[in-house]
């Protein structure tokens, strides 16, 4: 019932945003939406393992919802500044602005639905809605490049999700043969041990390929990377973090079904291969990347590859994978919020044309430095903890060859990231900078300090509630 109210109210607010043309009205509605989002998150946190019909609150959903709500608030905040800045440069029509805010709220709502869904097809429906919402916002700048990226994102995601739906139908065949007709996750998990292995494997492969477009891992990673090149930074912050978590949740819930069957070892190997290929592709491109946002996108590919490897290794690595998702979300979002300010200063994302950030905007440079420390997994970053746990799990599983390859690849990745971050922060710029100092207020860096602070604090000193929630979430696949 509560979920019904949430979706009803959210849709009302979205409709209001579409039709309202005043900035003030937009801001009020956006504030209301954030309030609604936090109310639902609080409700979900207090009513763990409750829910009826197509929505159910479990530990995984709560973790993802909290991350989503935090980033929803910060992204709303940065969207306001982004739109002001963009409006000054290109004088966007009012309609584009209402569509942007409506798309933002729709995206947040659809992600919430995807996390909470307890029926495999309901998850799919909400994931498909995230595609439309993201497309609207990728198209926001109305340039030739944004049309190209939006079209590619829409088309490839739709085709990929159709494949995922075929996977769901195959799972339906397996369920039918096992004598059940409903596709709720609970029922699937109970009946899984008697599922026909062939249909189950096909279903797993197809959902993995389909949702990989959302999670941004091999083989459908290219769409998200192209989308980042033109998407507004607050939107990139979503595509690269919570939207990847949506893909992860889709794959994770399917994995939970496979985990009960004899095909589990096979599925683990598939995830290991997908993860290693993701890291490999990411590193190859990271070494020669020239565009900041593409660099961040490839870094997301690398990190999601690590998460997939975590799922494939098993044991302690499950914990590492979930921890990695949480910390990666906060870190990557900070990077995108800060790159918006970098763009305000340099008017470009091309790495070679930037430099001297520290001298001109110390607060932002400090954020970037912290971002580098966090994303590279240098202590005290939380990502260090999760990567360390992952490596320990790999040692325990005695897969040394993969571990060594992975470490070599990660070294290259850190080198490439470090080189480009240092260029931005310390190097002498090629040409004089056209600073717009009045638009660069250190207050815009505040949210990044909070998020990065969370990454470090939660890594060093994880609150017991978080640990319990992660352990509960792991029980879904054990």
């Amino acid at each position: 019932m509560v979920f019904g109210y949430y979706f009803g109210l959210a849709l009302l607010i979205i409709a209001g945003l579409v039709f309202s043309r005043r900035t003030q009205g937009h801001l009020i509605l956006l504030g209301l939406f954030n309030l609604l989002q936090w109310s639902l998150t609080a409700y979900a946190g207090l009513h763990l393992n409750s829910g009826t019909g197509f929505f159910k609150v479990d530990a995984l959903a709560v973790i993802m919802l909290v991350v989503l709500s935090i980033l929803a608030t910060t992204s709303s905040y940065h969207s306001v500044f982004y739109l002001q800045h963009h409006h000054r440069l290109h004088s966007t029509p009012e309609r584009a602005q209402s569509l942007y805010y409506a798309g933002l709220c729709l995206l947040i709502m659809a992600q919430t639905g995807a996390f909470l869904a307890s029926h495999i097809a309901v998850t799919w429906i909400f994931v498909e809605i995230t595609t439309f919402a993201a497309t609207i916002m990728i198209y926001h700048e109305r340039s030739e490049e944004s049309i190209e990226a939006a079209w590619k994102y829409l088309f490839v995601c739709s085709v990929a999700l159709t494949l995922a739906f075929t996977g769901i139908l195959f799972l339906g065949i397996a369920a039918e043969e096992a004598g059940t007709v409903n596709l709720f996750y609970d029922s699937l998990v109970t009946h899984a041990p008697v599922f026909n292995a062939f249909w189950l494997k096909m279903a797993f492969l197809l959902t993995l390929i389909g949702y990989s477009a959302k999670m941004g891992i091999f083989p459908m990673h290219t769409v998200t990377i192209d989308a980042h090149t033109v998407a507004p930074p607050p939107v990139s912050a979503f595509i690269s973090t919570t939207l990847m978590n949506v893909g992860f949740v889709g794959i994770y819930r399917m994995y939970a079904v496979v985990a009960r069957t004899s095909s589990f070892t096979w599925a683990k190997h598939v995830l290991l291969i997908v993860g290693m290929l993701s890291v490999f592709v990411a590193v190859v491109y990271l070494v020669r990347v020239r565009h900041f946002k593409r660099m961040f996108a490839y870094s997301s590919l690398e990190n999601m590859g690590l998460v997939a490897i975590g799922l494939g290794v098993g044991g302690l690595a499950y914990y590492a994978a979930l921890l990695h998702l949480i910390f990666h979300s906060f870190t990557k979002a900070s990077m995108f919020y800060q790159i918006q300010q970098v763009h305000q200063m340099f008017r470009t994302y091309v790495i070679r044309k930037t430099g001297g950030y520290f001298r001109n905007y110390p607060a932002g440079a400090l954020v970037m430095l912290l971002c580098f420390i966090c994303i590279a997994g240098i202590p005290p970053s939380g990502l260090f903890i999760s990567e360390f746990l992952l490596i320990r799990a790999m040692l325990a599983e005695r897969i040394f060859a993969i571990l060594v390859t992975l470490l070599v690849l990660l070294t290259f990745a850190i080198w490439a990231l470090g080189k480009n971050f240092m260029q931005l922060i310390f190097a002498e710029p090629d040409q004089p900078i056209g600073i717009q100092s009045e638009t660069l207020n250190p207050i815009h860096s505040l949210s990044q300090f909070v998020l990065l602070g969370l990454v470090i604090y939660l890594g060093l000193n994880p609150p017991p509630q978080m640990v319990t929630l992660i352990n509960e979430a792991i029980k879904i696949i054990q």
């Binding site: 439309f132 190209e148 079209w151 159709t162 039918e176 596709l183 062939f198 020239r290």
Partner: protein, 209 residues
Amino acid sequence: MKAIILILFAISLLNISISNRLRGFARLLTLQGFLLFVLAFIQLNEVTILNLVFVLLETLVFKTIVLPLFLDYVIKKNRITRETEPYVPYFVSLLIVTVIILASFIIVQQIEGLSGNTLFFIVALSTIFTGLYIIISRKKLITHLMGYVVVENGVFILSLAIGNEMPMMVNTGILIDLFIGVLVMGIFVNKIGDVFQEANNEYLSQIRD
């Protein structure tokens, strides 16, 4: 009866592979929509008002009437030339689609434990693969969109083959999603047609490393 319709559907795939006019392609999609309607109607387990309305809406209204009209509108609005402009000759396309259908036959024969629905699976698989083939072998974005519709039709046949029915709410959600998907894509083809001289994928290769 089912068999005849499914075979007709497979023949329409061969027709699609050699259709050189966009309008002709759209007409074939109308035909496919109608065949799907008859198929879904026969396949209905129990005829309740709700089920009937849903099937009517999904196949007859959406796939047979609204979608082809919408495609016609997009074609007319952008003054898209009528050739489908494939990368490969039509004869080769015909051969490839034939091979796809044959391969589907062989693949489905290998699968054990298909309870009498073999023909459904063969046609569904060949439709999905033909759709994907159309997407990769045609230059215009509007044909990509049509290929996507063919893939959707294949998935629809597959869903008919499975006795296991989704709850009505879920079905409605899926239908709305697909409808919005095609609609938004059509709007984008329009936008692309406005910005570039022609909506084809040669213009869409600016973003790279």
